[in-house]
Symmetry: C3
Subunit: 308 residues, 3 copies
C-alpha cells in the first residue's frame, strides 16, 4: 500500500481502502512478535517521542514496545499539563520537540483536537493516541483487525457498544471505522451517557441491554470511568452493573459465536463480570496483542511517508 498521510489523527478522515492498508501491514508485523527474535530493523535510526499529557501506562507501553520491535529510538515525555501552564504553549512545546529532529510524535492529550493543532505546526508525523472524547484511532484499528481476524469481514456485522458513549473516544473512532466497512452499529447505555444527537453518526440507540444483546454479532463494552459517577451521571456502580453490566447469564441469551471486546483495563463486576471476561467469547487479550502490531504498522507507515 502507498500511505499518503503525514499523520494519523483519526479514522473519520480515512477511506476504507486506507484503513485496509493499515490492517494489511498489521498482519505482516503481528508475525514479528511471535518469533524468538522479536525485532526487525525497519525503523533503525528513526526517533519517536511518546508525548503523553494525560496519564497512561498501557497505550504508552504498547507504543514503546512497538517502536523497539522496529528498532527505532523512543523517548518518553510524560509532562503534566501543568508544566505547559507556565507560559509555554502546546505549539512551543511541539516545535521544541521537533527541533530535536524527531520523526514521529505519539500524543495523548485531554483536549479534543490537540493533535490536529500540532500536526499543522510541525513537520514530524503526529499519531493521535487519544484526544479528549474525540478519537483514539489505533484502538479502533486494533478492534477492526481483531474482529476481521476472527470473522473474516466487518461488512454486515451488527455491533453493539455499551457504556458511556458520550465521553468515549474509543466508541467514536470505532463508529467511524466500522461504518466505513458497512457494519451496523447500535449504542446502548443510560440516557445520561448517550449524546442526544448520536443518530447523526448513523447509529441506532438502545437503552435495553438484555434485548439488544440478542441481536448482535459483536458486543463492545466500554470502561466505566469512576470519575463519571462522581459527577452523578449514574447513581452507583452497582446500579450500572445491574442494568448495563454483562455476565455469563446475559451472554447465554446472545448468539453462540458472539464476540466480546473491551479496550481494557476492565472493571470486574461493573461493565463485565470476571467469568465473562475470561470466557471463550472474550477477545480482550487478542486485542492487546493486535494493538502492538497495529502500532508497529502505524509507526512504520507514517515514518516512511515522512521521508518521501
Amino acid at each position: 500500500m502507498q500511505w499518503r498521510h503525514k499523520d494519523l489523527l483519526g479514522l473519520e478522515e480515512l477511506t476504507a481502502e486506507e484503513i485496509d492498508g493499515i490492517l494489511e501491514q498489521t498482519r505482516a508485523f503481528r508475525e514479528v512478535s511471535q518469533r524468538t527474535v522479536k525485532k526487525v530493523p525497519a525503523l533503525q535510526g528513526k526517533t519517536i517521542v511518546n508525548l503523553f499529557l494525560e496519564p497512561s501506562t498501557r497505550t504508552r507501553a504498547s507504543f514503546e514496545l512497538a517502536a523497539k520491535r522496529l528498532s527505532a529510538d523512543i523517548v518518553n515525555f510524560q509532562e503534566s499539563s501543568s508544566s505547559l501552564a507556565k507560559g509555554e504553549t502546546l505549539k512551543d512545546m511541539a516545535r521544541n520537540i521537533e527541533a530535536l529532529k524527531v520523526d514521529c510524535i505519539v500524543m495523548r492529550h485531554a483536549s479534543s483536537g490537540a493533535p490536529h493543532l500540532l500536526a499543522r505546526c510541525v513537520k514530524a508525523s503526529i499519531i493521535n493516541a487519544g484526544d479528549g472524547a474525540h478519537e483514539h484511532p489505533t484502538q479502533a484499528l486494533l478492534d477492526l483487525f481483531t474482529i476481521r481476524d476472527k470473522i473474516g469481514k466487518i461488512e454486515g456485522l451488527r455491533v453493539l457498544f455499551v457504556g458511556d458513549i458520550t465521553h468515549s473516544r474509543v466508541a467514536r473512532s470505532n463508529i467511524w471505522g466500522m461504518s466505513k466497512f458497512g457494519a451496523k452499529v447500535t449504542v446502548c447505555g443510560p440516557r445520561t451517557l448517550i449524546p442526544y444527537d448520536i443518530g447523526s453518526l448513523g447509529v441506532n440507540v438502545s437503552h435495553d441491554l438484555s434485548s439488544s444483546i440478542r441481536e448482535c454479532d459483536v458486543l463492545y463494552l466500554l470502561r466505566i470511568q469512576h470519575e463519571r459517577q462522581r459527577r452523578h451521571l449514574f447513581p452507583s456502580n452497582r446500579e450500572y452493573a445491574r442494568f448495563f453490566g454483562v455476565n455469563e447469564s446475559l451472554l447465554n441469551g446472545a448468539r453462540k459465536n458472539l464476540l466480546v471486546l473491551h479496550p481494557g483495563p476492565i472493571n470486574r463486576g461493573v461493565e463485565l463480570s470476571g467469568d465473562a471476561s475470561e470466557g471463550p467469547q472474550s477477545l480482550i487479550l487478542e486485542q492487546v496483542t493486535n494493538g502492538l502490531a497495529v502500532r508497529m504498522a502505524v509507526l512504520y507507515l507514517v515514518s516512511g511517508s515522512g521521508e518521501s
Copy 2:
C-alpha cells in the same frame, strides 16, 4: 548448567546445585561489565518488563542495565498500586502484559506471594524482585556470590544478620540460601524486630550485638526502615544505633578478616557508621557490581528456558 525453571520466585525452592548454576553464570557475565564494550547479544530480540508496584530506583535500574547489557528490550511499568484498585485484578494486569508477547516480567510487589500468583497465570517467566517481607532472591544470590568470591566457600561460615529481621525479605532469602550451603546463621536485633518462631528456619537468635560480632565471619547489616520507627517497634534511631549500630570501635572487637555486607542504601549513623561503611572490610560496592551480574545471569537463564 541446565536451568529447568520457568521462574525465579525465591531461594527456598531451589537446590544448592541450582543456586550454584546461577552463580557460575554470574561469574561469566561479571566480566562483560569490565570490558570497554559492555554488551553482548545474548538476549537480542527478547522483551523484558520491569513491573514495579512498590517504589524502587536501584533494583529497577540494576535490572534495566542488566537487560540492556544483554541487548534485550526492556520497558518500565511503574504503576502505583492504586491503578490496580480501579476494578482490575493483578491477574488481569499480568495477562495484559503477557499479551504484549513479553518473555520475562521482573516484579516487585508489597504483598508476599504476588509473583507466585502471577507465575501461575502467565506463560512468561516471572522474576521476583522483592515480594513483601517474603523473598528477594536476586539480593541473596548477589550476597552469596560476593561472599564466595572473597572467601571461596559458604560452608561452615558463621553469618550474623543484624536489624529488622521480621520485615526483611533480604534476611529471609539469605537464610534459605546460606543454610543450603551449610553456613551457620545467627540473627540479632531488638526483640520487637525478630519473629518469635524464627528458630524454625534453623537459625540462632541473639540480642547482644557486641558479643555476637566477635564470633562471626560475615556481618550482614539490614537497612532500618524509618516507617518502622513510626510504628513504635523501637524508640528512636539514636537508641537503635547505640545498641545495634556498627561502628569502627565495634569492628575492632571482631575478627580481622570479617566481611561487612549491607543491601543498601545505608542509613549512615544508624545501622552503620560512615567510617565502617567505607572501611576495608566493607563489600557494599562489590555487592552492587555483582548484583548487576547476578541479574544478567538470571534474566539469561529464565529467558533461555522459556524457549525450549
Copy 3:
C-alpha cells in the same frame, strides 16, 4: 582535538581552545541528526546515567536522545532529593551508581558544586547538567555554537543578557564562555535580580533595556521563574514585562541583524512576546537542535577520555 578532562563541570575552568574543540566536535555530530538514519555506533556498549535530582524534561530528553544517537545505553535516575535524605549521602549514591560500571553520569542538582563533589568521589565522568545557580555548561556551549554558526565569530560581539541574573546558571556559564572568546557582555534587569558584585566577572550592568537593546548584537533573554515572584523580588509578571519584556516594537529599535536567544521554555508575554519569539531574529529552535549536537559531542569526548 585531544580532550584531556575526565569531567565537564563548567566553562569557568576551560580554555578557549578546549571550548573550541567541543564546538568542532559538535559540528561533526550535528550532521548525524539530519540523516535518514540518525545514529552512529560511536558509544556502542557504553553506559550513561541521567541523574536528575531536580525536575527536568527537556535537558534530560536532550541528553537521552544524544546518548541514543551515539548507540550508548542510558538509564534515567530521577530520584527526588528526599530519597537522599533518608540517611544516604550524595557520595554514597554516586559510588553506588558507579559500581554498576557506568562510564558517565549526567547530573542535575539544586546545589551549586554538587557535580564537583561527585567528580572527586567517582572514576566515572561527570557532566554537569545544571548545579544550582552556578553553571550549566552544555547550555552555554550550545549558545556559543549557535551564535558562531550564524555570525562566524564571538570576538567583539556585544551580548546583552536580560532577566534574573542572580539565580541564572545559564547567564553565569555564558559570561565565562563568551568572555574567553572576547565578547563584551552586559547584564540588564531589575536591581533585585542582579548581584551587586557582578562587575567582578568583567561585565557591564544596565537597568534600562530600551537603551541597551540598541547597542547589542546578541540579545539573550532569561526565563523568569515564577517562584522568584512569590519571593517578592519583583512586583508582578505584568510589571516585569513592561520594563524588561521584549516585543516587536522594542526589537524595531535594535540592530537589523540582532540575534535573539532564549534557553527555553519561554514565558510568552513575560520576558518575550509570542511574535518576537517566532520572528526572523529568533534562534530559539536552532538552540534546541544544536543542544542535542553539543551533548553528543560532550558525551563522546568525556567517554573517550575515560578509556585512556
